[in-house]
Structure formats: structure tokens, C-alpha cells
Symmetry: C2
Subunit: 314 residues, 2 copies
Amino acid sequence: MTNRITSLFHIQHPIIQAGMVWVSGWKLASAVSNAGALGLIGAGSMKPELLREHLHKIKSATQKSFGVNIPLLRGDIEDLIAVVVEEKVKIIFTSAGHPGRHIDKFKSYGASVVHVVANVKQALKAEEVGCDAVVAEGYEAGGHNGLDEITTLTLVPQIVDAVEIPVIAAGGIADGRGMLAAFALGAEAVQIGTRFAATIESSAHELYKQKIVEAKDGDTLLVYHNLLPVRMIRNPFAKQVQKEESEKGITRGRMMELHAKGRERKGIFEGNWEEGELEMGQSSGLVKEILPAADVVSRLMKEFEDGKKKIASV
Amino acid sequence: MTNRITSLFHIQHPIIQAGMVWVSGWKLASAVSNAGALGLIGAGSMKPELLREHLHKIKSATQKSFGVNIPLLRGDIEDLIAVVVEEKVKIIFTSAGHPGRHIDKFKSYGASVVHVVANVKQALKAEEVGCDAVVAEGYEAGGHNGLDEITTLTLVPQIVDAVEIPVIAAGGIADGRGMLAAFALGAEAVQIGTRFAATIESSAHELYKQKIVEAKDGDTLLVYHNLLPVRMIRNPFAKQVQKEESEKGITRGRMMELHAKGRERKGIFEGNWEEGELEMGQSSGLVKEILPAADVVSRLMKEFEDGKKKIASV
């Protein structure tokens, strides 16, 4: 398959593995890239020098395209970007914040820049400042989420209609059916997080991977509505936050206290079921086993191709 | 096109117009049915004798299949059901409540019964009590909504995997792209509300229809989380409720006070922008004009067929 996204990234399959904190280091990203899709290192949970280490390792582990996801709201964002620029990473996915403030640094050495957006306005802005593509991420996605709560099904076609640059659909996609649905909506690739978080090569704790596999349809929830929404599994910590939020509301100060540094690490990397934030998307209900990342890529493509044939005969 | 849903309802196109309070009387439902899709009378806003009047009128207005949507939680549900049974309505869509308590009354004269569900458990239950199909309705849908906040993109395939009966996708679908996406996920028909609410034949107030057309991607919101969630446009009333909910939480008693009888009528039927509940889905961002219902049906089918061809060549 060839389209604007596969050409932009020089990849075989229009599948991008989301850059996820505590989940996607060089190991997962290189496994996905070696399978013909695009692996992303999630820099969100890495200090600048650790990111450099992962970049060195991934360069040894794959000859294919890979990228880095950078959450722009980090305090040490300049140091993190300096590493990416020094290492001349060719594909940058930015999330949160304003890509316009940093895009020139990446463009100066010819990198492609993709921004993650959650509404039409952000997509138009990303296009205006020169991004090569956008990820349209819906309400069902795991982890940090948009304030508008727009779902992938309604977000993707509205962004496709609004911008000229290619659109990558994210949120709620875990199999070839979801991938085909995204293409039906006009997307030219999909970004998949949760499904890849539950792979052999994912750096996450085994308990966290197991919880993805066990999750049923209604097992995730969103907290910190109207502040800094985050989707996670309904564990004791999440239930406590939801209760507090629905009974008396949560202020920004209280949120900072609850969502303190270490909460994601505790949940995802250390497997602390009681107290951690185990961020995952609603697509967890569709994930049934822990596979090697390459198998996930090949199954997605097979299901996608089968689905295309099936829908042609509807 | 022929599949289990078109055969069940004896319709040409796998499109169902949602039964909507203050919107879908005999006029809209017959227009949709005459166009080869399935029109539903929304009994939710009708007293039993008014429903009987609409049933008499629709029988004169169309020779084709039509149905009635009945919200089972109504206080006078027995009287409402008595009218439906006396009039021998052949297609019943039930929402909220437990269809098992009433299904025998409909089955006794050979009607088809479809229940609207928002999670896998409800779908299994509907199948178990003998429903002929389920509507899998996601978080993006307008009006009353499930507690689990599961989006259409993740809900539909999980329900398709769980039940044997056919699945109708609802929530977030307003054009042929969304319809094709629903089929990619395994649905055999779509139920569409908001797009039909903004048609010439809709009984809603002109202001309400215009607000659907003007709505942008992030213009609806959900209130009464964890109680009785309702999606509506972000008007002064909705913003006031959202503010109260996020700042101090809303109890069941307070919700009953806010969502009092008359609020939906005020918003949808009387066009009161300040104080009404103007219920609509996230798909309102995709609705660009007020058309005759038959044109909506033919455009949906054309876009769906065009999309099928396009995706086959991806």
C-alpha cells in the first residue's frame, strides 16, 4: 500500500505505534519498525540523556524509519529537543502544547513533524505552522486526552474535511476492523497505542499488560474532566478519583496532588494496581492476548485486507 | 443491498432514523420510510393517545415499514405499550429499562423487537430475552446516553463479537463515511438521529435545526455523568449545568430539578436557546444543511457506495 503517509515516513504499512510513557522504548519501537510499520519512542517518561541512550540503541536495532514522540509541555523541553536535534531524528510526533514554537528546529535538518490534535482548530493550527500531518486522537484514547471529548468517529472526518495534510486516526483502534473504519473516515494511517502496549517488547510491567488483556468494554474511565483529562483503567485509584470528582469536583491544585509525578510510573512500569495510573484506551476491550509486536502488525494488515474484501461485497 | 437487517424490516437501505423526542412524529418517519429506509416514531415525548394519532397518520402516509421507539422507563409505560399492541406496530425499538419485561406483548402478534444498548452486558441480555437485533449506541450520540461512555468505534466490534443477532451502529454517524466505518466494524445497519433531526420533515423548532447546522466539532457536551448522562449542545443552560457539575458535583435530586419535565420540549420544540436542552450528537459537526429526509437517505447511500469503491482501491 502506498499513500501520503507511507511515502512521508518510508514505511510499508500505514500503522504507527504510539509513543507511550513507560511503554515504548527502543525495544518496542524497533520491533514495530522492523515489521514494516512505524515505531515511536515515547520520550515523555525519559530524561534527556536516557532518550539519547534509546536513540543510540534503536539506531543499532533497525535500519528502518522510526520516530520520537515529544510532549511539548515538559519543563525541560529545550533539553529534550536538543537531544532529538543532535541525534537528527527524522520523524517527530509532538503532543500537547504548540508545535509552532519548536518546528523550525526540527525542520532545519529536514525532519518530518506530526502533531497530535483533538479538535479541528488544533489541526488547522498544526497545518498552518507547517506540520506534515496530524494525528486526530479521539476521546476513547488512553492516557492524556483532549478537553472537548470528541470521539474518533466524529473527529477524523471533520479534520479530513478541514485540512489538506494527511490525517492519522488514533483512539479506539486495536484491530483491522478499526483500521478499516479509520480509512473509511478518510484517514491515511492509524496510530495504535494500547494494542502495542500489550506486546512482548513493551517495557510495561506484566501486570499492566495482563490488565489490558483482561479489560472489558466499560473498564476504562476518564478523570480530570475540564482540566487535563486522562483515561486509565478503573482500578482502586481511578475509582477514588472519579468518586471525588463526581461528588465535589476536583480543582487544578487537587489534580496536581493526585496526578503527581510517579503515578504513571507506579501503574504502568511498576504494576501497582492499587495506587498507580494504568493508562489505557477503550480499545483494551478488544485486546485478547500478548503477542510479539511484529505479529500485531501482520494481523492488523491481514484483518484490514480481509475487511476490504468483505466490505466490497456488502 | 440485502442483509439480516434489511430482511428483518423489509427495507431497501440499511438506515434507521432514530426515534427522537419532539423530532420524529409521523411526518419525519413516513418520509424516511418512503425513501426506502426505516422511519421510527419517537414515542418518548407523546402521551398514549397522541401516539395513537401518529400511528393512524403514518399508516395513511406510507405503505412501507415503520417502527416506534419506546423508552421503557416511562411512568405510563403500560398505557403506551397498550396503544402499540392495539395498533399492532410491527417494529419496536426499546430504549432504557429492561426489554424482557415487555417483549412477550410485542412478540404475541409477531412484531420485531430491537433494544438500544450501550455496553456488551446489555447486548447479551437483550439477545437472551429474545430481541431480534440490538442498536449499539456510543458515547457520541445525542440525548440520553450510557453510563460507561463507550464510543461507537470500540462498542460496535465488541458487541458484534459477543452476540449472534445483528447489530445496528448508532452514535456519531451523519454521512456515508460514518456509515461505511460502521459496516467495517461489523454493523449491518446504522441508526442516525441528529442528521434526520435537521431535515425539513423534522418536527423540531427551526432554531434547533439551525443550531445543528451551525454546530462545530466541540459544541456538544455530556452532563449528569454517572447519573443519567445526556448529550446536548453547549448553550447557556448546558454550560451552567456543566459548571455546577465540575465545581461541586450534581446529586440525583439536583439533576431531577435541572432536567425537569419540559426542558427537552423547551429546547427542541420551542427553540429556547437560553433555557432548553437542545439534545444532539457529536455528529452535528458534520451536518451542513437542512434537507428533505429523502435526500439525506439518497446522499448517505451514494456516499456509502462511493466509499466502498474508494476503500477497495486503497
